[in-house]
């Protein structure tokens, strides 16, 4: 009888739930919530009077409704005594925002990312690169985080989370390690010749057969992906300060190469940059709630 071989899921990135234990939410006048329902991950942020109080960052499942319920419940559970009714205003954003039935309002993720990035990085930020699960966005904002220009790259996995998940699985390296490992080369090799993840995958298989070490393969892959990202950024024009949001902002292998190609350093985040969209949504939520009270 054949034995089942354990299949490790190298692509699986760690989910997080966080609460600021130093605060007491009961003291807050306005509790707002932002939910960023993306194609790969869902972030829920709770803000108390416009300050980050709690968030969850979970994987999006096959049902949008279940994913948002799960993400919101997870953060409420971690807080302990907060109920959904305690939240004054919920704003939904992200690819699946229309599927959040309990949101008071939905706002585009580009607007939310702009606003959230300014919260995370400060009001000197002018260019934001959002590297998400399935798309890339280059966003230009003013000092209030208002979007003045943007470009999106959809329908292409190059430079996105999905593309990197594919590579982590192929090389059997946990996704959190692919970035640092790719920097363990003295010099970057030539990039893989294509930015298409499907074709890059077959090229990488060829490199594995040739006996290339994994760090060198990853360096070649990330270099190609980074060049694709830089092309998008150059189309909108990079104006400092420059910041990166989204899940891939945690991949040092991508970030370092993008910085090198651009000749610009990205700002250091003070808060998990994957939550930028949800933070922006929660901030919009607060403003909308206050506005509704004045009427």
């Amino acid at each position: 009888m054949a034995e089942a071989v354990e299949q490790k899921e190298y692509w699986r990135w760690p989910e997080t739930i966080w609460v600021d234990e130093s605060k007491n939410w009961h003291d807050a006048e306005v509790i707002s919530c932002g939910i960023d329902l993306g194609s790969v991950s869902t972030q829920t942020v709770i803000m108390t009077d416009g300050e980050l109080y709690a968030y969850s960052n979970l994987r999006t499942g096959s049902s949008s409704l279940d994913s948002t319920e799960r993400a919101l419940n997870a953060v409420l559970e971690k807080i302990g005594d907060m109920k959904r009714e305690d939240i004054h205003y919920i704003v939904g954003t992200g690819y699946g925002r229309v599927s959040i039935p309990f949101a008071n309002k939905t706002i585009t993720e580009i607007a939310c990312h702009g606003r959230g990035a300014v919260y995370i990085y400060g009001n000197t930020v002018r260019t934001i690169l959002d590297m998400g699960g399935q798309d890339l966005k280059a966003i230009k904002v003013d000092s209030r985080g208002k979007v003045v220009n943007f470009l999106m790259n959809d329908k292409c996995a190059a430079g996105t989370g999905r593309g990197i998940e594919v590579m982590a699985d192929l090389l059997s390296i946990p996704i959190t390690e692919v970035g640092p490992l790719s920097l363990k080369v003295d010099e970057d090799p030539e990039p893989v010749s294509t930015t298409c993840v499907v074709f890059a995958k077959s090229e990488v298989l060829g490199l594995m057969r040739k006996g290339w070490p994994k760090e060198k393969i990853l360096a070649a892959f990330f270099r190609a992906m980074a060049s694709r990202v830089v092309e998008l950024l150059e189309r909108v024009g990079v104006e400092p300060d420059f910041a990166i949001t989204g899940g891939i902002s945690k991949n040092v292998g991508m970030v370092k190469r993008i910085e090198k190609m651009l000749g610009v350093k990205a700002l250091e985040p003070k808060i998990d940059p994957q939550t930028a969209g949800a933070i922006g949504a929660a901030l919009f939520g607060r403003a909308l709630y206050i506005k509704s009270q004045k009427k």
Binding site: Y95, T108, A111, K146, N149, D154, R235
Partner: protein, 447 residues
Amino acid sequence: MAKEFKIEPLKVWDDFKKYREKYYRDYLEAKDNGGIRWAGSAWAFDAVPAGLGEDVYPLTGEPYGATVAFFKDFSLQALEAAERKGVARDLCGYLRNYWGSIILDKYVLADGTIVEGFPKPDFNYTIHICCTHAKWYHRAGELEGGIPTYAVDISVGPGYLLDDKKIDYVVRQLNDSIEWMEKVTGREYDDELLIKAVYAEADSMTTWAKICKLNQNVPAPLEEKSMFTLYALLVLHRADPRVAELYHKLYEETQDRVKRGIGAISNEQFRFLTDNPPPWAFLNIYRYMEREYGAVSLGSIYTFGLEGAWLGMDEKGERWIWEPAPTPEEAGVEITNREEALRWTAEYNLRYRPGWQHPYSHKIRKLETLQMIRDWKADALIMHINRGCELWALSELEVRDYLVKHGIPVATYESNMADPRDFDEARTWNVIDSFMESLGRKKLSKQ
């Protein structure tokens, strides 16, 4: 408070719809009375087969592909049928719907009725400019069990660099194609019918250009979603004198709308252009823009330039001129025989069709688009990054960058004119809403 404009339905609307319905039916029923069917690109020299008789019915492939695409369920069946035969998904979207329809052996009418049995043409007659055209009909002929096919190569460069040698090259092929048609149909060719068709073709194409030019007015008398229905007759059978007549009626009515200040939408407050064939199964984008932002789509280099005849690049190749091209009468030309007719139709098409100019150089398309934005007083351009057409996709992003450099706001969304599977509704609304937000436009429904 935004200004309210008076709106009125178009009186000629039903005539255009009826012509299109009859066109597909006529082709289907052509054989009942011994008529001739031919199929080919909407860019084929439509006037040339007209010399075979008054009972000659064309089926142009791109509009047929678009019609299939419009009916999403049938389109899906057709696309999958083509894919099962090994057709790659990145080929021309119209072609895949067309081949799929042949493979399924089903034919769709303008109202969506699906008829069993794809009506085979007597011959395929097409042109060749993009890498698809000739192969499209070569393969279609094979799928149909061996239908003879003729493709006229028209890739001689842009109109402003045209010379006699290039025109001769195309005219020689047209002459040869007439002999070939006589052979494959057994019919004698009538030059008088050809001459009549050549006059009608120019009349239709120039009149359409005049109609499009009227959209420079504020409020715009027409909006692009309706123009897709109105321009359709040009891609179906522009060399039919009845088509030319309908365009004259439309021109008169549009002039009258301008005179009386009748708008296409009542709340015009934002004017934009598009640039490519749209995703046919999702034209609700246009209605969304109107409803939510009072935004009117004035047209595009596609809607105006696919079948409209325009002066185009000036002689030095430095400036694009959006002025209607002259008809034979306006140019003071009298066409009296086959040679003159073929020469006229070759030169007129090669010189004045925008769609046959900009594929040769991104510079042409940049100048053409920027000039359109200026002449039509557009606030922005919404660009469909179209995976369905290799030719119209050329230079898209170069044009985007060029416009942005000139201070024109541009939004881009990805889709496919003829493959509904490539349209992502959530992403498209996201782009549109974000774009309008970045321009400081608020949704009217939220005000």
